[in-house]
Amino acid sequence: MILQQIFNGLSLGMAYALIAVGYSLVFGILRLVNFSHGAVYAFGAHAVIFFIGYHFGLIPAILLGVLLTGALGVLIDRVALYPLRKKKSPGISSLITTIGISYIIQNLLMMGFGSEKKPFPKLFDNRIVHILGARISTMQIIMFVTSVILLAILTFLIKGTKIGLAMRAVEQNEKNAGLMGINTNFIIAFTFFLGGISAAIASVLISGYYEILYPTMGFMVGLKAFAAAVLGGIGVLHGAIVGGLVIGVSEGLAATWFGSQYRDSVAFIILIIVLIVRPAGLFGRKGIEKV
């Protein structure tokens, strides 16, 4: 039972982790709490459904949907956030802006698709595998593998490539990054593109797993993923994944010991406890400040 619940928690955590990676990415590069990420996530699944509705076939629809969501990320940046950066306005006004954006996306989705829960096509034939006496579905394994691959790609991109170095430079000081010859606008747009893409990939996988989608689907999951990203340490991608798993598993254990209705509170309680012990998250480093 406990083991089963841990596995259930792990797969739940995988969903958080998938979304959290995108959060952490944008967050890590732009120091921006992107509250629109949950809405962008919902947009991803809806975009795919839209293309399926126009008989594009599943795979092309997914590709198109994912790209469109990436483009949405870029659009959000260009239209709403770029002007704020140009004015060097305080970070908190960007936060409010992203909240405004999520209102807009969510309500437009509702107007276009209706607010009800709708079926999303099954992506894979879901088979059950038994490991150590616990059940795992193939879909859960696929989600796990995808997140790890996504993580590996993004980590390599950021740590091992020139554009990644540029991204980190932009994070620390946009003006000076420009003086190094870095096209900062492009780098930031690219980051948002990646953020959008990763949100869309997450939403396709998760919607495919639960076979369900609706405009507000990103809200609670988004908050949890945000918590996971912070739990792991802001901007630390592998931290985001571990954070997601920690939250998922603790929800599983909470449901076993106390009942499903305590799930959410336990996730946040764990978050608070971890942060009290490690103020910069599990893998985050305390910001250095040379006096």
């Binding site: 006004s93 802006t97 107007m111």
Partner: protein, 352 residues
Amino acid sequence: MEKIRTGINRLTEGFSYLETNVYKYRIILYAGGLSLSMLLPVFGFSQYMTRIFIMIGIYTMLALGLNILTGYTGLVSLGHGGFFAIGAYTTAILMLRFQMNFLIAVMIAMVFTGICGLLLGLPTLRLTGTYLSIVTLGFGEIVRMVIMNFDTVTNGTLGIRNIPRPSFFGFELTLANHGLFYLMLVLLILVTYVCIGIQNSNMGRTLRAIKADELAAVMMGIRSSRYKVGAFVVSAVLTGLAGGYYASLVSYIDHNSFTFDVSIMILSIVILGGMGTIRGMFLGAAILVAFPEVARPLMEWRFVVYGLVLILMMRFKPQGLLGWRSRLPYKIPVLKRSQTYREEKEANRRGR
């Protein structure tokens, strides 16, 4: 776009110009504004309108409370809905279960909310920035979960209803007799007074220094931890007061009255109005509370437009609508016949 920008800029510049020039008449202005709001009900507004005014008042109080934490101290809370809920539930439970008078119940609720503020503030002292924000967000959600699951006290998801209206010496305050409106006004004046008191004393100055540069503040001998926790407590207490009043106003509360959206709304008011200002909270609350009402005819576009409003305001006035720096000279009290006073006069005579 350009027009909107210049429009908004001109408007706020106008305001700040007014500030410098109308300063002399401020007493008259305050008195005028106050008596105008006292007279509001006499103009025969419907209960619907009265209600909106009251909601603006409540959100102004909430924003003033959060402003202490976010505006002055720079700690961004995404969970003030939690304190709001604690204030409301405590008041409601005390009034219903123990037949307490509104005032006593609210005061106990304020103390209790303050303790919760302390309990949240203390362990999170080492956290900064986003880490702190996510913890407050978690706090807000945990409060909701406690409300939902702690049935014996909070009545769970069923919520608490039939919360009595405040009454004094057997006189019940309602919307119809405008009692609730005046009570709101009194509470709002009280809260504003407290905020002005904090702003203009050592506490306010210290909080702003912590916001500007905590390390430098510590190097000036400021015990920043104490002040940060203090800000948490004061902020929670004021929010608790608003919660208590709210419970008694709507007479039905449940966990859905205090969602994340409420926390966001309070924060939006603070930022839209202008962090660290008192005037801004009034304007911010008026705009964001009234907007959904005014925009009712837009139907389903309403919240799309609401989102747009937030974005545009931030884009053109990121420091908030009334968030300018005061251009008035700093007030320096003068002691007659003191040496400095004489010196100053002399300097003036010589013409600098």
